[in-house]
C-alpha cells in the first residue's frame, strides 16, 4: 500500500476537512435544537480523522493528531459528564439544575413550535458538549490505533 494518495486527493482532503469539522461541531453545539447531539457530531468529527488517515497515511496523521492528547480528551469528556450528573445531587442524580434558572443555558424555551434559542436546555446542552468531546476522542483513538496496528502487522509480514 502506498503511504500517501495522489496530489488531487490530498488537496481536496485539506479543503473538505475544515468543513467536516465545522459541521461536526455545529451538530454537537445544536444538539438540543436540531436533529443530532453529542454522539452524532462526535462521529462526524471522527470520520474526518478517518479521512485524514486514508489520505495521508498513518505516520503523518499521528504527527498531526497526538493520540495521547485524544486519550486525555476522552477521559476529560467522561469526567465532565459525570460531574454534571453529580452537581444535580441536591435533588437527584442527573437532575437538570440549570434549566429555567436564568444562568448559562438557563433561559426557558417558548412552549410549542419556535425557531430555537441556543441558550436553553440546561445540563442537556452541557452534557451534549461533554459527550461530544468524549465520543470524538474515543472514535479518533480507535481509528488511529487500528490503522497503526494494521500497518505494523503488514510490515512484519514482509
Amino acid at each position: 500500500m502506498k503511504e500517501e494518495m495522489s496530489r488531487i486527493v490530498r488537496t481536496m482532503t485539506t479543503l473538505i476537512y475544515v468543513f467536516i469539522m465545522v459541521y461536526g461541531f455545529y451538530v454537537i453545539a445544536h444538539g438540543h435544537l436540531t436533529p443530532g447531539g453529542g454522539f452524532q457530531g462526535g462521529s462526524v468529527v471522527a470520520s474526518a480523522f478517518a479521512l485524514l488517515v486514508v489520505t495521508y497515511g498513518n505516520q503523518k496523521t499521528q504527527d498531526f493528531l497526538q493520540k495521547d492528547l485524544l486519550s486525555l480528551l476522552e477521559s476529560t469528556g467522561l469526567v465532565i459528564f459525570i460531574c454534571f450528573a453529580f452537581f444535580g445531587l441536591g435533588a437527584t442524580f442527573f437532575y437538570n439544575f440549570l434549566s429555567n434558572s436564568g444562568s448559562l443555558f438557563g433561559s426557558s424555551a417558548t412552549i410549542g413550535v419556535n425557531p430555537g434559542n441556543l441558550n436553553t436546555g440546561g445540563t442537556v446542552t452541557a452534557m451534549n458538549i461533554a459527550v461530544g468531546i468524549e465520543v470524538l476522542a474515543a472514535l479518533g483513538v480507535i481509528v488511529l490505533t487500528m490503522s497503526q496496528a494494521s500497518e505494523t502487522i503488514e510490515k512484519k509480514e514482509k
Partner: protein
C-alpha cells in the same frame, strides 16, 4: 399485509444475520452477521415507535398541528448504535490479533492449530 412490510424487513435482516452466524466460518463474515442483527434490532425499535403521518419529535420549526412519533425508542436506538460501534471495533480488533497470531481467519483452523 403490505402495511407490515417494515416488520418483514426486520425479519429479513435478522434471518440473514443468524444465517451468517450459523453457517459461515470466516471471522470477518461473523462480524458482518453480528452487525446485521444489530441493524435489524435498531430498525425494529424505530418501526415500533412510528406513528402514521407524524414528524420527528423536535420543536424547532416543526409544522403546526402534526403529531410526533414516539421519542423513547429513538433515544434507545441512539444508545444501541453507539454500543454497536464500540463492540464492532472490539470484534474487528480481536480478529486482527487472531490473524496476526494464527495466520488465518477461519475459526475451524484456529481451533485445530493450537488446541
Amino acid at each position: 399485509m403490505i402495511g407490515n412490510f417494515p416488520f418483514v424487513a426486520v425479519v429479513i435482516l435478522l434471518g440473514l444475520g443468524i444465517y451468517t452466524l450459523i453457517f459461515k466460518k470466516n471471522l470477518i463474515k461473523i462480524a458482518i452477521g453480528i452487525t446485521l442483527i444489530e441493524n435489524g434490532t435498531n430498525l425494529f425499535l424505530i418501526t415500533l415507535g412510528y406513528r402514521k403521518g407524524a414528524v420527528a419529535p423536535i420543536y424547532t420549526q416543526a409544522p403546526e398541528g402534526v403529531p410526533m412519533v414516539l421519542p423513547t425508542p429513538q433515544a434507545l436506538t441512539l444508545t444501541s448504535i453507539v454500543i454497536g460501534v464500540a463492540t464492532t471495533a472490539l470484534i474487528l480488533s480481536i480478529a486482527m490479533i487472531i490473524y496476526k497470531k494464527y495466520g488465518t481467519l477461519n475459526s475451524d483452523e484456529v481451533r485445530r492449530l493450537r488446541g
